[in-house]
Amino acid sequence: MFEARLGQATILKKILDAIKDLLNEGTFDCSDSGIQLQAMDNSHVSLVSLTLRSDGFDKFRCDRNLSMGMNLGSMAKILKCANNEDNVTMKAQDNADTVTIMFESANQEKVSDYEMKLMNLDQEHLGIPETDYSCVVRMPAMEFARICRDLAQFSESVVICCTKEGVKFSASGDVGTANIKLAQTGSVDKEEEAVIIDMQEPVTLTFACRYLNAFTKATPLSTQVQLSMCADVPLVVEYAIKDLGHIRYYLAPKIEDNET
């Protein structure tokens, strides 16, 4: 059987919020090393990869590898029934067709349990090759979310250009053009406010704004976000989930126009 307990339901709520807009359903693969979810969005333009390590849970038991196909919208609805400080436990029997999600209030006087039907999802796993990214940028997650939101007003696409001067986000459309430049921060008091750029080679890539804005729904999960880029390779937007794991979004670049 499978059982995983987290001290705070709020983390799971935030995780679901971060993925439910991109994915209608997904398969949670549980093994003794933890829980993994990997799925492409409907348009097959992005890939979500969620990893939660078993040692990050308060209690984790997985006797046999288990794949649970779930409707993420339904799961998010169930999680809304929990208070942020509640204990949340996910349980499933081997070969079961349902998963039980249980919430216990902090004072243990209220216990709710919800049983959700699992789905049979035909999803093949994609192998993500190890890539040496030409450019890795680490910045505050809020900053990135703000940039994506602001630039979306100008265009459907955002150009990310990374050179030794720093990283530049641009968008141009009917309204006009917008450019936001971030330079590497010299010295900062708080590490989470720093912008750190690790550049091997300059890179310029174009991406769909709406997808970046969908990725930034994971901002509540982490103070920092890491962007990894390399020419002709999907962008990786990674949010670390403290003490638990990470969520990575892969986004395919836009097809180059012949005219500039």
Binding site: D17, D21, L22, M40, D41, N42, S43, H44, V45, S46, L47, K80, E124, H125, L126, G127, I128, P129, E156, S157, F207, A208, C209, R210, Y211, A214, V233, P234, Y250, L251, A252, P253, K254, I255
Partner: protein, 340 residues
């Protein structure tokens, strides 16, 4: 080193041997035979299974004949992985053979079109030179003069009757048959739409309003059913005669009517009343101001009129549409990652 034989090792198959599937020839067959074939008039009961040319299939097919006068089609109902248990015996042939009423004129049509389009011929002279005697037999024994009149021009000269194929009459005749089938499909509530529908769920009231495109769906299904017995070109002529648009056209039309319906419903919803509470606030804003809702929900669903769910199956939510629009122009991520 010899391998220990365990229960899982099987004797290696001879690589040169021709692979043989286990064959079972079931001697028994389960039949549903129509009562009227079983009327014993003179005690002598001779039903025969015979083969005649089936225009829809383009080859010979089985029919059941009775006393050289009546003919019925033999339909075979087969599902994969079925067998019969008959008293204390098993029968590997899980099929059910059914005799169904059948208008022999449909079979005759093919021969009339082939031989009698240009000149009138008498029935017994058609197909007389062919090695397959079934044609002659079909035309002389099992056809019905009144039905033949519906598809051809008839000239009587002395003892002989001559038939000449008439396309106009045939199409009109087929159209009437098609309409008859539409009536049965409607009566039995057969689902003829473009998607699949499960029988196990109760249809919500809201979905009943999709009646505009259905008439054409019934006609198309009925025409296709009739077409199963016709030569391919005749089926096409019938489709044109009945003005049945191709399925792609129907899809396009359906999408545009769905759009129209959606915009109409949006207008209706805007008129819905907001619930007023005792202290003058309306329920929606009170709910929003309480901390029970996440900020996300408050913006979308509480104050705006509830958009009906049934259309969700076919159309995407606004968010999904926006994402799909954003996806345009991007490469497919599957092209970067190969399946493990």
């Amino acid at each position: 080193m010899s391998k220990k034989a365990t229960r899982s090792t099987k004797p290696k198959p001879d690589p040169d041997a021709v692979p043989q599937k286990p064959t079972v020839s079931a001697a028994k067959k389960v039949f549903y035979i129509a009562d009227n074939l079983l009327q014993a008039e003179d005690g002598e009961q001779r039903m025969r299974l015979e083969r005649f040319y089936h225009p829809g299939k383009g080859q010979l097919a089985w029919f059941i004949t009775h006393q050289d006068r009546h003919i019925m089609e033999v339909l075979e109902y087969a599902e994969p992985r079925r067998s019969w248990l008959l008293n204390n015996e098993v029968c590997s042939n899980g099929r059910t053979y059914m005799t169904t009423p059948f208008d022999a004129t449909l079979l005759a049509l093919h021969h009339l079109r082939k031989h009698c389009s240009q000149r009138a011929m008498s029935l017994d002279s058609i197909g007389v030179d062919e090695s397959d005697t079934s044609v002659n037999r079909l035309l002389t024994k099992f056809t019905n003069a009144t039905s033949l009149k519906c598809v051809s021009d008839v000239k009587v000269s002395g003892d002989l009757t001559f038939y000449k194929y008439n396309a106009e009459r045939t199409l009109a005749w087929l159209a009437l048959k098609t309409r008859g089938i539409v009536a049965v499909l409607k009566a039995k509530q057969v689902h003829c739409g473009l998607g699949a529908k499960s029988e196990n769920y109760v249809r919500s009231e809201k979905l009943v309003t999709e009646t505009d495109v259905n008439e054409m769906d019934y006609m198309r299904m009925a025409c296709d059913y009739v077409g199963r017995y016709l030569d391919a070109d005749l089926h096409e002529e019938l489709t044109r005669y009945l003005h049945i648009p191709s399925e792609i056209q129907a899809l396009v039309e359906e999408k545009s009517t769905a759009q129209k319906r959606k915009s109409q419903q949006g207008q209706q919803g805007a008129n819905s009343k907001k619930i007023k509470l005792a202290n003058g606030e309306d329920a929606a804003s009170k709910l929003r101001n309480s901390s029970l809702l996440d900020s996300d929900d408050a913006k979308e669903s509480v104050t705006s009129p509830p958009t009906p769910a049934p259309l969700k199956e076919r159309t995407m939510t606004a968010k999904e549409k926006a994402l799909a629009k954003g996806a345009k122009g991007s490469k497919s991520i599957a092209s970067f990652f190969k399946a493990k």
